[in-house]
Amino acid sequence: MSENGKPKFAMYWAASCGGCEIAVLNIHERILDVDANFEVAFWPVAMDAKYKDVEAMQDGEILLTLFNGGIRNEENEHIAKLLRKKSQLLVAFGSCANEGCIPGLANLSPMEALFETAYHTASTENPEGILPQYEYDVPEGTITIPTMYPVLRTLDQVVDVDYYIPGCPPESHQIEAVIDAVIAVLKGEAELPPKGTVLGVGTSTVCDECSRKRDVKKIKQFVRIQDVERIDPEICLLEQGILCNGPATASGCTALCPAAGAPCAGCYGPANGVIDYGARMMASVASVIDSRDPDEIDAILDGLVDPAGSFYRFNLAHSLLHTGQASWNGKGS
């Protein structure tokens, strides 16, 4: 408890894009409820704070920490462990902390290749070809930056996690609902859900909330959305040959993407109890391919140009394989 009697709240940003932070702010005036019920103890994006302030706290002093981002370097890991120690409830917030998300896709490539892309490709102006060094000698002494790890890990692969709130980013109405629930617990009106619960999601998958008309599925060809002349606005995208991850993705987002004519990319992660998200998509999509002829099946599958990227766009770091082979062979993929 803080001096003013309000429980402490923290939010941290590891390997992620920052969208989750914006999503929290996106709940508009409801953010005031947070302020009314919590003292914000540590939230680097929103306020000034020092790691040493956190280190100085008692263990368990923070009641609730929303941690977003994956663990990609020494610093991420250090803070994850630190916040774990100082928080009573550590929540993996957003797709990166939950399942690796887009930063997790980097697990398909070795670090050298990542640096190559980041510092030596057309999008980067770096005429001298400078690469960051972990240690660098300057007149004032040696400066260091955190060591980068060969692969990204999710929060629960590094520390124990109490709750999960998925989404890239989590939808505002789901954040609001979680905040309401936490406040209700604070007021003694409700009990905490069992540890490990995934919060802010529905019990089923995106199709459950999708307004498109669904029929029996028989896929004769896959098409990429940019190659489709006209997308039928009524019919299930998968039935139109567009790879939509909706069937395998946890509901809770209100199926915004398919409603707008874009296939579900899968940011809410797997449904409850699912062990490997990509496997679910592979099994279901392959099951409804309408062919028994091996060559024809191959021809149909040729339409899925990027299987690893399509099925593991968000979930790679939390999948059974976790990485691609190249990331520890040290070879370019």
Binding site: T203, D208, R214, C236, G246, A248, N272, R280, S284
Partner: protein, 677 residues
């Protein structure tokens, strides 16, 4: 929870390792393995580890029973032979000990370890891995109860050949109702077309027609000829079958079967069904004299009235006004508990082997044509003559294996052709005195009195030439061959190419699956082999059952067979069904899939995956559902559900994943890994 409890989940597992005499113990160090199970797997919940000479013996089973009672076991693992042999045995032992039988799991360390490996150390390690997998799996087992369904008393039999007739009579005589569906106007099937049956040379009609009449008048049999099954719904015990009764344009209630109509009918049609194109019938007809039922049908496509709008000779002459040109198809639905498919075979189209000349050379006949020709009621009144209808042949060549044992057509042996060809040889001898050549690859006579018949035909002077006929031609090389059919063959026993001129050639054509066998199989939810025959549940031990409970198969629809075997299968199918009817209800394996409604998104991925139509979609709730009575437990939908909303008992994700983990826990030495760059 302590660390140990986390691993064991509080389980108390007994592991029993069978010696199987020396079958396992000779290669696997069973004592070591049982000790290891108790010691090394203690922290994974194993509290008993024992080995015994024969686990499947009474004493071995008692060991399990007593340990369950004394040691409070809640799971049992038996490392022995294949579960296909003794899973039931050990489940029963587990049940007798007071546990649910499904809490027992077997590890196959005989068929998959001791019998296939020789190195003792390696075999012992692999046995451990198999047990480790079973231990992890059994923890995820659940108590299951068999699924029970009531059995409707009536039976549907599809196909009125001798197999269907036999089944129908057996069931009807036991006092239970039967619907017998036949798509031709009469029952009788191929057997009605034959003249004599081998090897006894009984007259086919003489032994068949009494059975046919019995079917016709049986109070428990509802005969639905000129009818076809359109749709099958439901599951064992409770099928709803939709049948189309084709319009016959004859009012059966008024028809006396007097035959005036077909005598008066002016339209002569080549009968390509019953007479296989060798004779004629009228546009209104019964296929043959002794047809059951006796009522004729009008062949719509060939009837002058339907073609031209006038004629109606049959109507004019019918003494009982039994003709109704306004007749229409009727669709009925019957409820039955079991189904027998006895849909028979088609004859191989001999035109597909052009070098045998059938269709081009007049005096090349198929086996079925020859059957009709020798039949006293057939188009030649039983005279064996050339296509000119009058000339008796002086020499006849009989070609075996036409379209059989030939990878260009059918790679199986049609099994009846040898005996049939021997019968033909005998009949030709008997009726014409002509010289007969039988051309064969092998003579296959493996049944009662069959080889004796071969001896008899040899004794009659039939000339046997061992060699598959290369060609039958009228292309004479020498003037002496002119006007003859020349059978060119290598006489493999003489090592010579021979050209044998004959007057008539009979092709013993292969038996093939019905051209619509695949559609029929799909309709009834059963499988066809690659060749197209219906697939048995087990080819040896359950030859008349199929993978779909309640659907049985008999006769040539499952593969070529002779009349005795066909009749046996008809009886066998009936016996299986009678025992189901007797039981009143059926206990089915509880390996089934279920949809967890709250997790189902109604995405409909699973909807078309079940060949047994167990999955349906409820448009109201927008959820998919599984009818567990129809489910056969294959697990395809479980694997396909993108939401993980379908679970399967007996082979749940948890069970399979735990077993994988268990199998890998004993990973042999970790392999050196290249250091990362």
């Amino acid at each position: 929870m302590t660390g140990e409890e986390a691993q064991t989940n509080g389980h108390r597992i007994g592991v029993y390792v069978c010696h199987c005499g020396t079958n396992i113990a000779g290669v696997v160090d069973v004592e070591h393995v049982s000790e290891w199970a108790k010691d090394a797997l203690g922290d994974r919940g194993v509290v008993v580890g024992k080995d015994y000479k024969f686990m499947c013996s009474d004493l071995g089973q008692e060991l399990i029973q007593k340990d369950i009672e004394r040691e409070g076991l809640d799971r049992v693992v038996v490392a022995a032979c294949s579960p296909h042999l003794h899973e039931k045995t050990f489940r029963n032992a587990t049940e007798r000990g007071g546990l649910n039988p499904y809490l027992c799991e077997m590890a196959s360390i005989r068929e998959q370890v001791s019998w296939v490996h020789t190195n003792k150390a390696i075999a012992t390690e692999k046995a451990k891995a198999m047990i480790s997998g079973a231990v992890e799996r059994v923890k995820e087992h659940e108590s299951l109860e068999p699924f029970r369904v009531p059995i409707e008393e009536a039976t549907l039999i599809v196909g009125g050949g001798i197999a269907g007739i036999q089944s129908a009579l057996e069931i009807a005589n036991a006092g239970h109702p039967v619907y017998l569906v036949e798509r031709e106007p009469s029952i009788g099937g191929h057997m009605a077309q034959f003249d004599k049956t081998f090897p006894t040379l009984d007259c086919s009609a003489c032994i068949l027609t009494p059975r046919m009449s019995e079917v016709g008048v049986h109070p428990n049999i509802e005969l639905l000829t000129w009818s076809e099954v359109e749709k099958v719904e439901g599951y064992v015990g409770n099928f709803a079958v939709t049948i189309r009764k084709k319009a016959s344009y004859v009012i059966n209630e008024d028809c006396t079967g007097c035959g005036i109509c077909w005598q008066k009918c002016p339209k002569k049609v080549i009968d390509d069904k019953f007479e296989v194109g060798l004779g004629y019938r009228k546009a209104i007809y019964t296929p043959f004299e002794q047809a059951v039922p006796k009522y004729p049908v009008i062949d719509h496509d060939n009837c002058t009235y339907f073609e031209k709008g006038s004629c109606k000779a049959c109507e004019k002459f019918c003494p009982t006004e039994a003709i109704n040109f306004e007749d229409e198809d009727e669709v009925i639905t019957v409820n039955v508990g079991n189904i027998v498919l006895a849909t028979g075979y088609d004859l191989f189209d001999a035109r597909r082997i052009p070098q045998y000349g059938y269709g081009r050379l007049a005096n090349v006949f198929t086996s079925l044509e020859f059957e009709r020709m020798t039949n006293a009621a057939g188009p030649t009144d039983g005279d064996i003559v050339l296509r000119d209808g009058v000339t008796a042949p002086k020499s006849v060549g009989i070609v075996h294996c036409v379209g059989s044992r030939d990878r260009n057509f059918n790679n199986y042996c049609s099994s009846i052709c040898c005996m049939q060809s021997l019968k033909f040889a005998h009949l030709v001898h008997e009726r014409t005195g002509a010289e007969v050549f039988n051309f064969y690859i092998d003579i296959r006579t493996p049944a009662k009195e069959y080889d004796e018949f071969y001896q008899r035909v040899l004794d009659e002077g039939t000339r046997f030439v061992r060699g598959r006929v290369a060609e039958v031609t009228d292309a004479a090389r020498l003037p002496g061959e002119e006007g003859k059919l020349i059978v060119q063959v290598e006489d493999t026993l003489a090592g010579q190419q021979r050209r044998i001129p004959v007057d008539m050639v009979i092709l013993s054509a292969a038996l093939e699956p019905r051209t619509d066998a695949y559609e029929t199989a799909k309709k009834f939810g059963i499988a066809c082999s690659a060749n197209g025959w219906f697939t048995e549940k087990h080819p040896k031990l359950d030859p008349v059952a199929t993978m779909t409970e309640g659907v049985f198969i008999a006769g040539c629809s499952t593969g070529p067979k002779d009349i005795p075997a066909t009749v046996s299968q008809g009886s066998a199918a009936a016996a299986r069904i009678l025992s189901y009817i007797e039981m009143g209800e059926l206990a089915l394996e509880p390996v089934r899939a279920t949809v967890i409604a709250e997790q189902c998104s109604g995405c409909r991925i699973c909807n078309d995956l079940c060949p047994f139509n167990a999955i349906s979609y409820d448009a109201e709730t927008e959820l998919s559902e599984i009818n567990i009575a129809l489910c056969q437990g294959c697990g395809t939908c479980v694997a396909a559900c993108p939401a993980g909303a379908i679970t399967g008992t007996g082979f749940s994700n948890e069970q399979v994943l735990a077993q994988i983990e268990g199998l890998l826990m004993l990973n042999v030495e970790p392999q050196p890994v290249a250091e990362p760059a």
